[in-house]
Symmetry: C2
Subunit: 214 residues, 2 copies
């Protein structure tokens, strides 16, 4: 009769090694893009051959997906630690993130490049970013609703647009900042724009662009 074959455990240090690879991959993909960032460069950063990396992750596509997921687990943005901050606190958190990001252009660039690249044909990261934005929009919308309730006002229809807008400014500013750090203040500008949008939701005013204005 056949003895059941069981897979034996991965070795203890392996997990740390994989993390090393993921970190290196984020750095390379961040600075050169996914298509333009070869496995060999990631490999030499962790003292391996590129075949070694493929042993761990199977393919470059899967490596990208895992890089993205890994950052999500470790990182600050979105779901921080365990609890999702609610209401005002979430917006404050976003602003804090913008300030923190000024100290880590590498990661900012990784997200900026990879998210835009993800919309191209057959990019393996597309699904990830689709879901990510959907989730972030939902969280921001929720925060808006909480704030409205706290103030005793009805949640206005603008909430969904405002949620997308908040995320959009942050991302858009990152690109401008990466292109010209001397002339774009990432954090201060993010704060300004977020406040403007939040104000527009909580305390709407007539459009300054209406056809009768000067």
């Amino acid at each position: 009769m056949t003895t059941t074959r069981r897979a034996s455990k991965p070795r203890p240090e392996t997990l740390a090694r994989r993390r090393e690879i993921l970190r290196a991959a984020l750095e390379i993909f961040g600075s050169k893009g996914y298509n333009n960032g070869p496995l060999v460069e990631i490999a030499e950063q962790v003292d391996m051959t590129h075949a070694g990396i493929l042993h761990h992750f199977g393919s470059k596509d899967r490596l990208l997906v895992e890089v993205l997921r890994y950052r999500d687990e470790t990182d600050v943005e979105g779901i921080e630690g365990q609890h999702i901050p609610d209401g005002t606190e979430l917006f404050r958190h976003l602003v804090r993130t913008a300030f923190a990001n000024e100290e880590r252009p590498g990661i900012v660039q990784a997200y900026a490049v990879l998210s835009a690249e993800s919309v191209t044909d057959g990019n393996p990261g597309r699904e990830y970013f689709e879901q990510r934005y959907t989730q972030l929009r939902t969280e921001v919308a929720q925060a808006f609703r909480v704030m409205c309730e706290e103030r005793g006002i009805d949640a206005p229809a603008t909430i969904d647009r405002a949620s997308a807008s908040v995320l959009a400014v942050m991302d858009g500013l990152q690109v401008q900042w990466l292109l010209d750090r001397a002339n774009v203040e990432l954090a201060e500008t993010s704060a300004f724009a977020i406040e403007a949008i939040v104000t527009a939701v909580l305390d709407p005013r007539p459009s300054p662009l209406a056809p009768d204005a000067p």
Copy 2:
């Protein structure tokens, strides 16, 4: 003295052919990215071999730069036709552009992908986008100043931040829209965000995120 090397005349229809190539290149670079968009595919779209394209543009790098410049000349955004609309009109123009963009996802994607890709190491489009954003920010800032003057208020210090923010939302929304057209309204949302930011400049209110608020 050095005789300036003068190339002899191109044939009459050649210009049109070059434009065809530029259009095809924008489409391919737009849908697959610069690094991932091969010359062969651009070539077959204009019934040529890739060597023919290199005959016209010398290298892939130079092709990208020319594509970018070409769109600038032809296109609506930024300097439209001849006159730069001033004041309120510029913001209305931006909103109109957002509406127009909903009908041409290809071009939107091209700019989204290429601008983000441009921040990577050694990308030939970087200089172009750097200058482009600098110029657009200046134009928007100018429009803000005109509006302030019209209303008899002093131009506030927030103008530079607001200018970057306006461009940032538009760009950021494009990415979200490209990823999930069913759930993101590009134009309506752009309009909302732009109005919010313009309002914040012309009629500032206390921050809803200040540490003493609920």
